[in-house]
Amino acid sequence: MLDSDNAAFIQTGVSISLAASGGDRLPSMSRGLGCKLVDGGRQVAVFIKPSQSEELLDNIRRSSRVANVFSLPSSNRTLQLKGLDARIQPFEVADLPIIKAHIADFVAEVLPLGLPEEVVRTLFAYTVDDLVMVVYTPVAAFSQTPGPKAGEALDAKP
């Protein structure tokens, strides 16, 4: 589902948001602190703070269905992935460098746009005991870069 270009894109200094809906269709969402590919690139794992995401995680446990958006502030390039098999896994300390690198990349991305670094670092402040990983297989991908092609489904490419 995810070609190599998009696979690389979601691991740059993008803004990440993950959503899942409740039984009443009411969605909830949280910011992701980075992501990685697992299962030979077939699955995406997004790092989430449970303290901010009680409702989101409940919805994932209930439905396993997620929407995940990645957007690069400097270019507006935006990609949405959808998954139907999301599950919550414990955070592995070995993945800490991914989060650290993601925050550094994001800071480098938004500082030229005028956002104060202290605000960005506060937004992404975390503790290791307040992290989980949401893992899913993308089954649909959509370009949401603003413009006439926004919302178009992307063809699956190996």
Binding site: L123, P146, A150
Partner: protein
Amino acid sequence: MSIRLETIRECFEGIIPGHIATSDTEGIPNLAYLSQVQFVDNTHVALSYQFFNRTRQNILADSPVRLLLTSHLTAAQYRLTLKYLRTETAGPLFEQMRAKLAGIASHTGMAGVFQLLGSDIYRILAIEQVAGPTIAPPPPPLNYLTALRRATNRLAGCTNLECLLETAIDCLVDEFGIEQLMLLMHDEGRGRLYTLASHGYPVSGIGSEIPVGAGVIGICARERCPIRIGFMTSEYAYGRSVRASIAADGHGDALESAIPLPGLPEAASQMAVPITAAGRLLGVLYVESLADLHFGYDEEDALVAFAALLGLAMLHHQQADDFADEPAASEEDSPPTGGPPLAVRHFAANDSIFLDDDYLIKGVAGAILWVLLTDFAERRRTSFTNKGLRVDPRIRLPGVSDNLEARLVLLQRRLEERDTGIRLSKTGRGRFTLAVNRPLTLLES
């Protein structure tokens, strides 16, 4: 304690874009980024509808809506639960959002891509602050409530329109810290706004005009709502808007732009606030800055309140001047005039006045000046009253709603700027004198 929407409006400016989540009828979630959130009131917001996308389909299929908004000042995040109510495709809210979006589009390289199709209005069902650390916001540039209190006191001390205008400009500069501003009055009969006062520009532009509906100022006048843009956009640059509007109107003549509008050619932030009273549009207050996002919701609130006060005071002084008693008719001895004669030419078609071939003024103010100078030339008359002008058949005022006193201030200021030996001065409520220190040659064309 529940969070009031008005206290988190910094999240709406799009500095950190908001996220919107919806679900389709099967419960599949969808996420998208928001370019703007518009504060409507404490229980309603409006979101821009720009593309018919999945979010739009879900909303029309009655999806509950969640927003995730982030403060660029404190890093606080808020989740808002919304219910879609309706879409507006015209009117004040739509125009407010369309103008703001033009700025955002231009700033983000999306000019021509972002286009407002509608303003989707939502009711706020819940606001929840997301757990997490925050930082103290930087102190605001000034306390707008204090500024408003001080400005209120200062305006209350004015006894006529001229003082009110001067004090209003001083208050905006001293109390509100505004560096570039214009005050324009509404000419109801002609659908124009004319600049009566300005501050912070190399030339005052007094007497310059802008059609109702053109640019930030004209749209503010037409919709009678504040229009605020945070980034430079050619779409709302007034030079271009004015020219296009005059051309489209078909009523324009060469004099329409004889006096250039003052203004910053590179303004990034622009805000226009209507001055209304008793259900009428009296004028527009316009402020601008070279800095991005210089004016926010708090500045808008403060200026809207200030403009409301100013409008009531203007209306009061206009009426007081109009109904002041006629003074005993006495033709005073005017001082002898000397020097080379000044040629004053009047074109009856548009009541324009030229002094020695230089354009001075037209319209109602031109008609007034011609009457004053004719009376002076024929009878050496120098004392006049607003009441007398209002009933003078030669002037043809549009009606009692016309702000005659503002026209007189405009005329007085144009004459002062041109310094050609003709002066008008207030001598009391609704009274003024004409002073001419050069021989005049009146030419009717």
